[in-house]
């Protein structure tokens, strides 16, 4: 059994303009010690999905199941979720500055987090643990810096503090929502390195939410490509890059400057509104392969008979070869 099993997750929000269907039937598994990358552009539902699983969406209509170690996170009561969050499921977000309290020393914040979940640990022991964690994520002179405030750290260092906090109780799962998007590339390389190292050391499973296909290629074991709230394609990392099936996956890769010649090949048009989605394939309006059948919603089906590689597209599934890239 997988560590986390999400089945047919649906999330919608009622707004004055209508119902926004942010996630429409998302299923995925996360295996222990593995990295699942969820990739998609703005509004694809990649962040809403994981926030819902951890009970962080308010005022949403939610259906489906998300079994984590035998507990359904969707129906779990707030107390259970609170116990799991932090202890079993660590989280880091894009902007470390707004995730840290500006008026408390970072050491205090980590100690507080440890003591909230572990009622037996003493203050001094928790503080010692906090210093260990900070040096584990590569903060120099951790024993001194533990008494600094968040503003005294750079962006990359703050993200390390967030990782230290998320890893404090040795969680089985780390959810990282665009963890390096706000960082410069040389700092991004450092932070990704820290995440890889911790995963090797502690066997943590990671859900990595990102829009950056470069980060996916560097970090992922499995990849889920989302568009307009639904999965377009899922596959092991190499299949997504070398044997992809869905025209959206192909379009994303073809848009990258590094993969084109003189002229870029963008995906024409813009994503559909999540309030008035088309009946059939959500990508049909921008797809160069569109045909009659696309007015019906395509199911997620195996590509080339491989159950680990699935694509939601009406194009034939028996050809297991790269079409565009």
């Amino acid at each position: 059994m997988a560590l986390l099993e999400v089945r047919d997750l649906r999330v919608s929000f009622d707004t004055p303009d209508g119902t926004v269907r942010a996630v429409r039937g998302l299923s995925f598994d996360v295996e222990a010690g593995q990295t699942l990358a969820v990739v998609g552009e703005s509004g694809s539902g990649k962040s809403v999905a994981t926030q819902t699983i951890t009970g962080l969406t308010r005022g949403a209509k939610v259906s489906g199941t998300a079994y984590f170690d035998g507990t359904d996170l969707i129906t779990a009561d707030p107390a259970t979720l609170r116990r799991l969050r932090g202890a079993q499921i660590g989280m880091i977000f894009q902007d470390p500055l707004s995730s840290l309290h500006p008026q408390y020393r970072v050491g205090w914040q980590i100690v507080e987090m440890i003591r909230a979940h572990d009622l037996t640990i003493g203050k001094q022991a928790a503080r010692k643990r906090a210093a260990e964690l900070l040096s584990l994520v590569g903060i120099p002179r951790a024993a001194e810096r533990i008494d600094d405030y968040p503003h005294q750290f750079s962006g990359g260092m703050r993200q390390r503090v967030m990782i230290a906090m998320a890893m404090a109780l040795d969680p089985a799962l780390l959810i990282a929502d665009e963890p390096t998007t706000a960082l410069d590339v040389t700092v991004q390389a450092q932070v990704l390195n820290v995440m890889r190292r911790l995963q090797e050391q502690f066997g943590t499973a990671i859900i990595l939410i990102t829009h950056d296909l470069g980060v996916v290629a560097e970090m992922a074991d499995e990849v889920v490509v989302m568009y307009a709230g639904a999965v377009m394609e899922r596959a092991p990392r190499r299949d997504i890059f070398y044997r992809n099936h869905h025209p959206y996956t192909q379009g994303l890769l073809a848009s990258l400057p590094a993969r084109s010649g003189d002229r870029l090949t963008p995906i024409q048009g813009t994503p559909p509104s999540l309030i008035s989605l088309p009946k059939g394939c959500p990508f049909a309006a921008r797809c160069s392969h569109v045909f009659d059948k696309c007015s019906e919603p395509p199911p997620l089906a195996d590509v080339g008979g491989d159950p680990r590689h699935q694509s939601a597209c009406w194009l034939p599934h028996d050809v297991n070869e790269a079409v565009a890239s």
Binding site: Q188, S260, L264
Partner: protein, 337 residues
């Protein structure tokens, strides 16, 4: 000899801080922008690339040094004297949300340059604005809509239309695609290159994204802490990287190709970018450079050609990389011998 459109000579730009210190955003930069080219400006947060661009467009007064446009010094021009030149130098900004007034209709936003320079009014202005909208791929019928009714990519098209209204000679693009999704980013990059060809534009293209800069630029200047560390034609910069920082920057860029990602030796720089209020002595990169030697801490290297037969590839480094040199195994040696 190529025509020089804009020249920056030993420009410095400093900003005072609350604690009476000074941030050296641009710390002595000289370069030329040639007519018809795209000059890429890359570097990480705080390296001074945007400040330099704003000095070029005379949106900032420089602290010292001079800026020349078509042979005329514009550094000390008053706002009024600068006004005719504003037609020739335009800027496209990063944030398609923050750079458009949300309460004004798109037609009037794009028409502003005509109004300010008293060029066209009434129906003539409307006609010109609609032509521009068509040119950048917007529906001219959306003339009366508000910015909020457009997506991020469309808003950036509005920014492009406004910048092109007066047929400028030089367009400074400050992170024009950084806020956009990758599929939309490609649309805007293609649009910019079409317009460049059609109107013979010169671009200064600023980005932190090396893959974007590589795609659009003829030449690239790499900045670190207010200085240019390497300046070269694009193919030279990537094929024959000389400066250790440039190499580290290239190596840190995640590549969307699993085989390359698995096989390459990444150079992961230690530490953070030092503060621009108190930059390191000597070479500003020495605190993070894998090849740093003692003399790098004492003296500042000059931006100059490594090889005399390649005068347009310039590097500011005492120990530039040789062909095929492996930087991933280098260790700094800062002890006195």
């Amino acid at each position: 000899m190529t025509d020089v459109l804009l020249k920056v000579d030993d420009v410095r730009k400093e900003f005072p801080t609350h604690s009476k210190e000074v941030v050296q955003a641009v710390a002595g930069v000289s370069l030329e922008v040639h007519k018809g080219e795209t000059l890429g400006l890359v570097g990480e947060t705080g390296c001074g690339k945007s400040s330099l661009a704003r000095c070029m467009a005379h949106l900032y007064d420089v602290t010292s040094g001079s800026v020349w446009f078509e042979g005329q010094e514009i550094t000390k021009l008053s706002r009024k004297a600068m006004r005719p030149l504003r037609r020739d130098v335009q800027v496209i900004f990063q944030d398609p949300y923050g750079s458009l007034n949300p309460r004004r209709r798109v037609g009037s936003i794009i028409g502003d340059p005509f109004a300010i320079h008293g060029i066209a009014s009434g129906n003539e202005r409307k006609k010109k604005v609609q032509e521009l909208m068509e040119l950048v791929g917007l529906n001219p019928e959306h003339y009366n809509r508000f910015p909020a009714e457009f997506s991020g990519g469309q808003r950036q098209r509005i920014g492009v239309a406004r910048a092109l209204a007066l047929r400028p000679k030089l367009v400074i693009c400050d992170e024009p695609v950084s806020a956009l999704d990758v599929s939309i980013q490609a649309q805007i990059i293609n649009l910019l290159s079409d317009l460049q060809r059609e109107f013979d534009l010169t671009y200064v293209f600023i980005s932190h994204d090396l893959s974007v800069v590589r795609h659009v630029s003829d030449r690239i200047a790499v900045m670190y802490l207010g200085k240019i560390v390497e300046l070269a034609p694009t193919s030279e910069l990537f094929g024959q990287t000389r400066h250790p920082y440039t190499r580290a920057l290239l190596s840190a860029l995640p590549v969307a190709d699993p085989d390359t990602a698995d096989s390459r030796e990444q150079i992961i720089l230690g530490g953070d970018i030092p503060s621009a209020t108190n930059p390191p002595t000597g070479c500003r990169f020495h605190t993070r450079c894998p090849k740093a030697r003692l003399d790098c801490t004492a003296e500042e290297p000059v931006l100059e050609p490594v090889l005399t037969d390649k005068p347009d590839h310039r590097t500011a480094c005492f120990y530039p990389l040789t062909v095929g040199e492996d930087l991933s195994t280098a260790v700094p040696d800062l002890k006195a011998s």
